[in-house]
Symmetry: C2
């Protein structure tokens, strides 16, 4: 039985090359990403018909760049997260002429991986905020003792933040071991939150192998936490998806560390792949900060994370990486209200005035969101 | 207590930029890869002294390229594989101006990770070959049923190969589930091996999450297998290193899928990092095959994998990716006898004459190695 063409994963690559050889190169990619051997050596009819990748299209984008689309059999992925990535880019990543830009997945793939379990709505419900962008900051620098981090968290929470995350560099180092750090910070946030009346959430960063990650989620859950952060490119795709499957009560933030080491389009990687694997919120480096992603790439990433897509919940865009208070109006203009505004170092510069500066941030967002709502009603 | 400068990990980046701003950019990398926040906002003296990354050197390589070296505190890695990678490249990977080229690790790091448990010597001992390059081929294409793959393996083994690996695309798909495939192939190789008298080894490819990987290693061990292949960039660094630690009897082959070619230097990634984490053999795409790694990069990779390095065992270089029989003399010239020659599709093209063609390959390698030894004695 031949799978219908629409049952295939259709992957889009950008390939630099020459018009005279692009068809052969496209065929080469389709073979590399499926059977990875000379097709003349294949004796099995079913493999030729149902497994070998098919070139679906080649489009000249000008200036030596081509868009190549390839259809890959879902069967080859075994519907497992690591093997999915292996099939859509894998060996072809080694060739600098080719970048992975997109993949369209059949509904079978969406259903198998399931996407965000909580998504934007679940993240809003946790903090009781429906009508404005969410706010977030980060505990830094690593190297502080547990008490120092807990003190920072308390001040952020007294300033009324929605979410407070660990810096992704904070792992399980000797100066702030996870098992001591997370209960202490969670307690500090609980106490400050009781004072403000706002249910500020703390998001610990998870590192280590699967055993350690499970143990760390258990510690977080015991502290009443219901959101965690993971680094998909370091933990590994299979590990990330396993944790999402096993912990339906937890909301997952994806962190962008090591996402640049491969040539994968940022909108696809964060907005599509991490969302497919269950990220409820995707943290990425916004334009105009410490990292040079173009504005249009960031907007497309946001659209990908939130678009209607095969019944998957939308993931919350979290633009970050050197954002400051003065960027808030423009970020809300860009992303609308379904965004989580993450300002880390920009708040920490306030030092002893941290809680006050956090309150300024929080009030700023609420006021701007109010203006937007009023404007929308007026229009 | 201040750590001595020599106790730091010294990371080398290639940075494209301008002479006028390179010092500031170097400082920016050192901060991003450590505290990741404005240093003016750091109030803790110990963090400033012992945790903040230090620029060690900036060297103009010409044509807008600079070599930047940065010293990072070992403490920040927590001596955990994922966090190690997070610290040496992590967020900086997102900036396309910067490529990770190298890192020099203090002995403390080498001792903590341990490198290959078997290395070249252990891979030689498994097949009783001390004096010539080892040989290897790959079972392909995925999509074949278990019987088809076992038949291929038997014919490779009758041709006298040293090692036979799964194609990295062969995971746990419905058409050849791991738990059926591995025992069947192992049995086929055992039987053929009993006929030839040569202890040919089968290397199954491991995929899935840590639970599944452990289960698959157990299945392999039950079949008497003592070597496996893992995909570090897909399984994740913590997962790879956990398996290496837990299975001291197993030799590990690393597969290059998703390693990219652009932003992490291939000699460092395969020859240093994968070796540090315990790869006994590193498979990479050789120059002049299906992938465009330059020859000098491949040679440097081989040197890195095998050089004397803080007491770690050498890892076996496995150049691959479209190699053919006619490349064998040149590959031996390049790499010497401590190499495993992996020819996949080039042998499979022989189709029904597969065992004979494999024998030609095997004899060819033995004869050439004999000539080299004779020449060395004569010199």
């Amino acid at each position: 039985m031949t799978a219908s063409p629409s049952d295939r994963i259709v992957v889009t690559y950008h390939v630099t090359g020459e018009a005279s050889s692009i068809d052969a190169r496209a065929k080469g990619i389709a073979v590399e990403q499926s059977v990875e051997m000379p097709v003349e050596a294949i004796t099995d009819e079913r493999v030729m018909r149902e497994i070998v990748g098919e070139v679906r299209g080649v489009r000249d984008l000008g200036e030596g760049l081509f868009e190549v689309t390839v259809g890959l059999a879902v069967e080859t992925t075994g519907l497992e997260a690591g093997q999915l990535v292996n099939m859509i880019y894998g060996n072809t990543s080694i060739n600098p002429d080719t970048a992975l830009m997109d993949a369209a997945f059949p509904q079978e793939v969406l259903d198998a991986f399931g996407g965000p379990r909580h998504g934007i709505e679940g993240l809003r419900a946790r903090v009781g905020v429906t009508d404005r962008p969410l706010t977030c900051s980060a505990l830094k620098p690593q190297g502080l003792p547990v008490t120092g981090l807990a003190d920072l968290a308390a001040r952020f929470a007294r300033g009324g933040l929605d979410y407070i995350k660990d810096d992704h560099g904070i792992a399980n180092q000797g100066y702030s071991p996870y098992a001591e750090r997370v209960p202490a910070i969670a307690a500090a946030v609980r106490q400050a939150s009781a004072e403000t009346g706002h249910p500020t959430r703390y998001i610990p960063s998870l590192t280590g192998n699967l055993d350690e990650l499970r143990d760390r989620i258990r510690i977080a859950r015991n502290e009443g936490l219901d959101a965690v952060m993971i680094q998909p490119m370091i933990a590994g795709f299979p590990t990330m998806h396993t944790l999402v499957r096993e912990n339906p009560d937890m909301a997952f933030f994806s962190h962008p560390t090591m996402t640049g080491a491969q040539r994968v389009g940022a909108p696809f990687l964060h907005g599509t792949l991490f969302r497919l694997l269950g990220a409820d919120a995707v943290i990425y480096t916004n334009h105009g900060g410490r990292f040079p992603l173009p504005k249009e790439t960031c907007l497309e990433l946001g659209r990908r994370a939130t678009r209607a897509w095969g019944g998957l919940k939308p993931a919350m865009p979290v633009p970050a990486g050197g954002m400051t208070l003065d960027r808030v109006p423009e970020m809300i203009d860009c992303y609308g209200k379904d965004v989580m505004l993450l300002i880390g170092g920009g708040l920490l510069l306030a030092r002893e005035r941290l809680a006050d500066e956090t309150r300024v941030f929080q009030d700023h967002v609420a006021r701007l969101a109010g203006e937007i709502s009023a404007r929308n009603v007026a229009e």
